[in-house]
């Protein structure tokens, strides 16, 4: 049970030195966390549908790949000129592997990969590409559009800013 005095104290606290210090610490921690570790973002575009749809909200967890490398089937955020606008894609192959699409099916090192996350099957035919050292191959889940209009391909691991929190 919250009495009137406690409620008043909570909403209108006495401005003391300690209170201001606590407030400053909370503000600094919040800025650091949400600027560098958990970057809030809103999904725009349907390239990762149905897992991530336009308008959905999430956080980019930047320490995700501090001690590991991105690998299939991780969803990652690819940095462009900075971190305000990033690409949301799924890793399908790592460095040294060969990636190919035949009739919409993904083949890595010649082996067909089952992709339960792909709902809209495609008819893509893309010749084998070898992933360069230090790179990963990323592609969106929604492949209902022609390959020419879908943004995918290999990107340096250094461009991976992190992974969505959920």
């Amino acid at each position: 049970m919250i009495d009137r005095y406690s409620a008043r104290k909570f909403f209108f606290p006495k401005i003391t030195k300690n209170y201001l210090l606590r407030l400053a610490v909370v503000a600094v921690v919040a800025v650091l966390v949400f600027k560098y570790a958990l970057i809030p973002f809103r999904v725009q575009g349907e390239s990762m549908a149905p897992a991530y749809v336009t308008g959905s909200f999430n956080f980019c967890f930047t320490p995700r790949y501090l001690f590991s490398k991105p690998a299939w089937p991780d969803v990652v955020m690819v940095r462009m000129a900075g971190q305000k606008v990033m690409l949301l894609k799924r890793v399908v192959a790592a460095e040294g592997q060969s990636v190919e699409f035949k009739e919409g099916n993904l083949f890595v090192d010649g082996k067909k990969i089952e992709e339960p996350y792909v709902v809209n099957k495609s008819d893509w035919n893309i010749l084998p590409v070898s992933v360069k050292p230090g790179y990963v191959y990323v592609v969106g889940d929604n492949r209902s559009m022609p390959a020419e209009t879908h943004t995918f391909g290999q990107t340096p691991v250094t461009r991976i800013a992190g992974a969505p929190l959920w």
Binding site: Q44, G45, V78, M80, A81, G82, Q83, K84, V85, L87, K89, V129, V138, T151, F152, G153, Q154, T155, R159
Partner: protein, 166 residues
Amino acid sequence: MVTKKYQTAGLILAAAVAAVLLLFVDWEARAVKKQLRSIAGEMTWSSADSDLTMASRIRHVQERIAPNCQVEIPAYEISQSVDKKDVPAYLMIARKYYKNISVKLEDLKVESIRLPQAKAVTTAYIKATGADGQRNDEVLMLEFTLQKVEKKWLITSATEVQVLEK
């Protein structure tokens, strides 16, 4: 006596602020950013805009481009040297293709300034509606080179940086 004291303190403070601004603010980088942001602002139009508004926008874009500007944007199948005097024709063609367009530059960074040249990178978020009413949004990482001519930064090249290599 007191007023004189305050006036002196005010003058010292103003001089200190001016010194800090002169020493720590990179005015050339600010001018480069301002020029690019302004050109992005002029590349925004809607079907409601009159021909007069459009003509004024075209003139402003033309003023910010070097006599010869190299444009390499594979996403829009553009790879050519653009003559300054041809800018109005190209923009009129673009207006026919897109009834609404808006360009927003995010993460704009000036990478280097070696007078009279500067290099900047940015993520251009282009929201466009085609003449047929179809949305055609695009996110591109662009690299600009600019040259300072008579105290004005003019764009000498615009190149798309391939974030994902197919």
